[in-house]
Symmetry: C2
Subunit: 300 residues, 2 copies
């Protein structure tokens, strides 16, 4: 068993350093805009998506440089995640004042700057993914497949579409199937893509990709169930964002459908399915296993 | 000499058909969101960027399939341009009600949907650029170089950064150098990238890319000067967007610095520099030459 807290801290530091290297410097003509992007990128964050990407890479490849080669991909995933939080927090969307324990981007810099910071981070992700200088030897075909996987997951049939459904669904009586579609697209798709992009970059075979897809889908589901749960059971201080906001926005959630106890069980079941998908992997998959358990342990 | 009106109409039709093919269908779970994107993509537009991309490709490559192979790239450029218009029109930005003679996206669908439509179109661009199915034989290395060129031009040191500078500069006394930086980044960068991506896809040599860079930079400049001019000299009906909005927003413009006559001359000079950059090309560059002249002729 690995020490997940130590592992996370180490990986978070590695991702932080790489983000700082790849991110533009707040100088020159665009200094204010770049500072605005850097604020949200460095104000905190568990770096779950980049760490999943790196952990999947090391699960597949014994090459000690695999993490270095995947770092631009890992950082691109974090840029996309951060942009989505900035846009989701906007007054026209969830209108949140607090994120990761600090003022949201538009609260600090204004709406126009926040919209543009999000646009800039999304575009920077694809800049990083296609940048020759940072490729560190990922084959061109793998890089294109990674770009495709991430763009598909982050786009209108994935994360962006899921956020649109989430907005449309506010205050409406959604079916459980509709809730699942929102979760899968809004949160699950990018988490699965984080796992898959690490696997593709490390040269995984098709059957391995299939196992990682099941793994990713199930930890994505567990992650979203746990987020729903934390919104009900935590304080704003614990969360670093406004607690109870799902109820305020009359959003469909797992606890609203199933109650707290049953929701906890469903999260646990999803984590177990994710572990099952890794059954044929060696102890090189232990960081992924620990990450899966960590997701559901956040509720305890 | 080619008949530019006929050429434009023909190319616009080709781009329209390709956009309709590559764009998602407004059906299934995400139908409302997709309809919102399609609205802005098909509400009009001169398709200048995709046409520049295609015309540069045919200038370099005698292969009759070059336009087919470049169409996903051309459409991606139009997706990025359209997203930038949707976000620029938002209340927090330029707060425009009218675009291409129709209500702006947020006026028709609301702010949240408009932000997400922009996000979706930007992401779809990179989906199209990396999609194997549409590659039609562009080499992987060229596709990555195109993605890099477009991401760099559309991002925080290009179009997004330029819009941020434009917003920050409203109501301030900008120097002419600052105005040039805004123009170059906000409008010029993506126009140059449109030309370069066609050239890269068609296998242009480094010295040809250098000539196209000069060509693109100068038509981009001419384009923006002419836009400034039209904002002063046209009616809202002629423009299809609110005329005189630069003065309302107290934006720095060429006519504000130089007056109308001198501004016309500067546009003409930029077009002539762009034509000079093409001097070593054969009559295969005639569509590009005609496009350059067309840009400045819009003012007459």
């Amino acid at each position: 068993m690995i020490d997940i807290k130590h592992y996370l801290k180490q990986q978070q530091q590695q991702v932080h350093q790489a983000l700082d290297e790849f991110m533009l410097s707040p100088s020159g003509d665009f200094a204010d805009h770049i500072s605005c992007m850097r604020y949200s990128l460095f104000v905190g964050g568990k770096r779950v998506r980049p760490i999943l990407c790196l952990a999947t890479g090391t699960c597949i490849s014994p090459d000690i440089t695999i993490e270095d080669r995947l770092l631009p991909v890992a950082c691109a995933l974090e840029c996309i995640h951060t942009y989505s939080l900035i846009h989701d927090d906007l007054p026209a969307m969830d209108n949140d004042d607090l994120r990761r324990g600090h003022p949201t981007n538009h609260k600090k810099f204004g709406e126009a700057e926040a919209i543009l910071a999000g646009d800039g981070l999304l575009t920077l992700a694809f800049d990083l993914l296609s940048e020759g200088q940072y490729a560190h030897g990922l084959p061109d075909s793998a890089r294109l497949k990674i770009i495709q996987t991430i763009a598909r997951a982050a786009g209108s049939l994935g994360m962006v579409g899921g956020q649109a459904l989430d907005m449309e669904g506010e205050g409406k009586d959604l079916s459980f199937e509709q809730l699942q579609t929102i979760h899968r697209s809004k949160t699950g798709a990018l988490i699965t893509a984080s796992v898959l992009s690490g696997a593709i970059g490390a040269g995984a075979a098709e059957e391995q990709l299939q196992a990682f897809r099941v793994f990713g889908d199930n930890i994505g589901l567990a992650f979203q169930i746990v987020d729903d749960l934390l919104d009900v059971t935590s304080t704003t201080e614990e969360l670093g964002k406004t607690a109870g906001s799902d109820a305020v926005h009359r959003k469909a959630t797992y606890p609203a459908f199933f109650g707290i106890e049953k929701t906890r069980e469903l999260a646990q079941q999803a984590v177990e399915r994710s572990l099952g998908a890794l059954s044929s992997f060696s102890d090189r998959a232990d960081p992924l296993r620990a990450l899966a358990r960590y997701i559901v342990d956040r509720t305890k």
